[in-house]
């Protein structure tokens, strides 16, 4: 059984290369039971979609700069 930490790595790798069948099964087994990692995996896809929109200049024009500290 993979840990959440390992699963997040796989979720990112999934955006880069096709996963091996073994990785796919382990990933699927984990996300079936873990809502945090299910959300994480969805967020990776949302990030890519968002970047594509951003790259094609479809971002809604944003004048104010929010104060973000991370």
């Amino acid at each position: 059984m993979l840990s959440c930490k390992e699963v997040t790595t796989l979720c990112s790798q999934e955006m880069e290369r096709p996963l091996h069948w073994r990785e796919k099964i382990l990933l699927r087994l984990h996300v079936m039971m873990c809502s945090g990692c299910t959300n994480f995996r969805l967020h990776m896809k949302t990030l890519r979609q968002t970047m594509h929109m951003y790259a094609s200049g479809q971002a809604v024009k944003s004048d104010p700069e929010p104060d973000v500290k991370d």
Partner: protein, 209 residues
């Protein structure tokens, strides 16, 4: 020193298809922000925007009008940036890329316990209605601010991958890093960007500790 926008020096150029100096000037601030994020160098960013603006005016007749002007111009800018990066010497050393993120272990420990499970309160939450968010000015302001808060090298690799659409292989080749390193850097960037978005824009519910 930045040059005056080329469009102001050629005000009469333009076509019926909608490529004119005024329209391009109105896009300039967005283009600059865009280029700076990728290049992390204001002067080079100015040059790229300048070149893209000139190219847009020069090739105005090839704007078919079946995409928005903004999309068309950003495609030109994106290609300029790609050309620039391909021409440029490798400016990032392997060690600085990997060592970029010294607080990485600390960050992982705040997210995961010793068994690699999410700490309580750190589990990613569902994001509200992404389609609606993508139409929100506030969302994009947060998104850009989060991109700007990525460590410089992580941001560069991430932007090459997700913004300029380079394949991992080409990123490795250009930066002289292994595929494994490239994936590690991308993963770190995604984890950070995700947390930043969730903290500053995501669900506002109180997280139980």
């Amino acid at each position: 020193m930045s040059r005056a926008p080329v469009a102001t020096t050629t005000p009469s150029r333009g076509t019926a298809s909608g490529v004119n100096a005024d329209a391009l000037i109105s896009l300039r601030a967005d283009m600059l922000r865009f280029a700076r994020l990728q290049l992390r160098n204001s002067e080079t960013a100015e040059d790229m925007v300048q070149e893209a603006t000139e190219a847009a005016l020069r090739h105005a007749e090839s704007f078919a009008g079946n995409s928005t002007l903004k999309t068309w111009v950003f495609a030109i800018l994106r290609n300029r940036i790609i050309d620039h990066l391909r021409r440029a010497e490798r400016s990032v050393s392997i060690s600085s890329l990997v060592a970029d993120d010294e607080d990485w272990q600390d960050r992982l420990e705040t997210l995961f316990n010793e068994r690699g499970q999410w700490h309580d309160g750190q589990q990613p939450k569902p994001w509200p209605n992404p389609e609606e968010s993508l139409q929100s000015r506030q969302f994009w302001a947060v998104f850009e601010a989060c991109l700007e808060h990525l460590p410089a090298n992580a941001a560069r690799v991430f932007m090459m991958r997700e913004f300029l659409d380079f394949e991992s292989d080409e990123i490795c080749q250009q930066l002289g890093i292994s595929v494994g390193n490239c994936h590690v850097i991308l993963h770190r960037a995604r984890l950070k960007l995700r947390s930043c978005l969730e903290n500053h824009w995501g669900p506002r519910t109180e997280v139980p500790c």
